[in-house]
């Protein structure tokens, strides 16, 4: 069984590579941007799902980690000249001014820094119960944002950073998304991952079976923060400009929404949902803008897009409580069964 699965997975990756190559050459930049965004949100969703879906901790602080990643990556990849341009009000602090690093290094450093921040935040908050953890993480995320708004010499404060080198392309986003998926899946399937699920199911029992709650929650939290930062770094590099306003709670909510809709506790669900929701949000943009159908002009109503979206979200949440996949995963087995069962029925009919 496993051998077949590995071959199918390798095949899938190969096909994906071909698709990306073709897409890079033939699709217009708008569609490429959407694809990039989808892959980035897949990374973000997978990382949030690790904490919320698999460990059962309600964390609402993802935007904070994304901010750490975005700013770190940006500051480490921007050239000295660009930095000087940006920091016209207050010059940037010295060591940062002259450092320029390659993209991957910057992303990883951002990730490590974010994991460290997660450690600092997690130490006091991870022992809090349910809702309190949610609000505490939300609070910390806001504190991070407010700090970034007020540290002019490091982050350029409310002005934000512009002209961030556009390193992000389909290979980076999809490549890192794939890496994220593989690594987090490896974690989930391992003994540690099972321990996390045990914590989700029943903390008291898990602890009594020898699982250190604090250590394992921290593991999940830090790893999730790492990948959230990578996602943030990619996002910053894609858009080319970041500022603290971008990292308000609504960003965390966006990712949370994707995770809930895909099914908390399903990795494939998170990925599928990321693609569906991100592209859906983009296409809903038409509601905000004027639609010109030739003979009819429908005036766009700004804000309608989010109204529809929030409305749809609530409908999904109320009527499809477990999201798309619940805790199930899409496996090669299921796909093959899907096709072979149909054959089985046909054969039976013929036989009779």
């Amino acid at each position: 069984m496993k051998k077949r699965d590995t071959i199918l997975t390798v095949l899938f990756i190969a096909l994906l590579a071909v698709f990306l190559w073709q897409a890079g050459n033939h699709l217009d930049s708008y569609k490429i941007r959407i694809l990039n965004l989808c892959a980035i949100y897949a990374i973000l969703a997978l990382s949030l799902n690790l904490i919320n879906g698999f460990t059962g901790l309600l964390s609402l602080g993802h935007a904070g980690f994304m901010a750490v990643g975005a700013y770190t990556t940006a500051l480490l990849t921007m050239s000295e000249a660009t930095k000087e341009q940006n920091f016209f009000l207050v010059p940037i602090v010295e060591p940062l001014a002259s450092i320029t690093l390659p993209f991957l290094s910057a992303l990883i450093i951002g990730g490590l820094l974010s994991a460290f921040v997660a450690f600092l935040i997690g130490a006091p908050t991870l022992r809090l119960r349910g809702d309190y953890l949610a609000i505490a993480t939300l609070g910390f995320s806001e504190i991070i944002r407010i700090i970034f708004t007020n540290t002019q010499s490091i982050t350029n404060g409310p002005l934000g950073l512009k002209s961030i080198p556009n390193n992000t392309n389909l290979w980076w986003t999809f490549g890192l998304a794939l890496a994220t998926f593989i690594l987090i899946k490896a974690l989930i399937d391992s003994s540690y991952g099972k321990a996390l699920k045990a914590i989700r199911e029943d903390e008291v029992a898990a602890e009594s079976m020898g699982i250190s709650l604090f250590k394992h929650k921290m593991i999940a939290f830090m790893i999730a923060a790492f990948f959230a930062a990578v996602g943030g770094g990619l996002l910053g590099s894609l858009i080319g400009a970041i500022n603290p306003i971008m990292f308000r709670f609504i960003l965390t909510f966006n990712v949370l929404l994707i995770v809930v809709m895909g099914g908390m506790g399903s990795m494939t669900g998170s990925v599928i949902s990321a693609f569906v929701v991100t592209s859906g949000l983009e296409y809903l943009r038409v509601l905000d803008e004027n639609i010109n159908l030739g003979f009819i002009k429908l005036a766009g109503i700004p804000g309608l897009r989010m109204v529809v979206f929030a409305g749809l979200l609530m409908i999904v949440v109320i009527f499809f409580k477990n999201g798309l996949m619940g805790t199930r995963e899409f496996t090669w087995n299921k796909l093959i069964n899907f096709f072979t069962i149909k054959k089985k029925f046909r054969k039976k009919e013929v036989g009779q």
């Binding site: 029943d202 008291v204 602890e207």
Partner: protein
């Protein structure tokens, strides 16, 4: 040397004294029962011993080591495992996973080794197996063996909460055994069982005590089980230890009879 010793442990919740200066002493290999009317403080005593509560007063020694105030996961690592009065299985996980998880505490591979070990494709196993994969294999074998022992081998892929009540209790025992305990605490293992099941349980407890070289403490209301299986019995009433001794002595103890007056054991 006593495998478990408590030194006048007391548990106060605000103004309520749930357990009052309870001292017990358990030798290796014994099967000891803690009995008493409902609300006597038995589970609270268990919770103190296993680290879920920190005693307001008093100390607890396990295998000569002072464990007062330590967290449950540390105490379990030292070799103490338990089951719960209101079954606390990992409901949404499979029967097999419930037991496999209880092996995690003794995992030698660290986090990085586990993640990387799992990314390593299975096809290459014939050339070299990562440390983690070897351990995973061993854990699976051990878990299968335990499940077979409790008679759950046919249910390994079922969701834990789909099992009937009696089997859920057995799963809890299998799970506890997976942690490699020296001392096993069973909280009302016979609850809800009919007479045939309770006699099976009695032989089962003796068997695991012998097969796994255990010491066992149980809380139980089923007097038949208690009298059949216990080497010694402690009786709690309103948090106080009112009697201690072998089954015959306890059965004829005035104070014990009084405490239980009107409370029949369940059918």
């Amino acid at each position: 040397m006593a495998i478990l010793k408590t030194d006048a442990i007391t548990m106060r919740f605000g103004g309520l004294v749930a357990v009052n200066e309870f001292s017990l002493n358990i030798e290796k290999g014994e099967i000891v029962a803690v009995i008493g009317p409902n609300g006597a403080g038995k589970t609270t005593a268990f919770n103190m011993i296993t680290g879920v509560y920190c005693p307001t007063q008093g100390d607890i020694y396990f295998d000569g080591k002072k464990i007062t105030g330590l967290k449950p996961h540390t105490i379990t690592k030292y070799g103490m495992a338990r089951t719960f009065q209101n079954i606390r299985l990992f409901k949404e996980l499979s029967v097999l996973d419930n037991v496999v998880i209880a092996n995690h505490l003794h995992l030698k591979a660290n986090l990085l080794q586990s993640i990387l070990g799992n990314t390593y494709p299975d096809i290459l196993d014939r050339f070299w197996q990562p440390k983690y994969k070897k351990e995973e294999k061993r854990i699976l074998e051990k878990s299968h063996m335990l499940l077979e022992k409790v008679g759950l081998i046919n249910f390994i892929d079922e969701k834990a909460d789909s099992l009937p009540y009696g089997l859920q209790r057995k799963l809890e025992v299998a799970r506890a055994l997976a942690t490699n305990p020296k001392l096993l605490l069973l909280d009302e293992p016979a609850a809800g069982m009919n007479p045939k099941e309770t006699s099976d349980l009695t032989s089962f407890i003796r068997q695991i005590r012998d097969d796994f070289d255990l010491t066992i403490i149980l809380i139980e209301h089923h007097m038949q089980v208690v009298m059949d299986i216990s080497d010694r019995i402690y009786v709690l009433d309103y948090g106080i230890n009112i009697a201690e001794g072998n089954p015959y002595d306890i059965q004829n103890n005035e104070k014990v009879i009084q405490a239980y007056l009107g409370v029949a054991d369940d059918a």
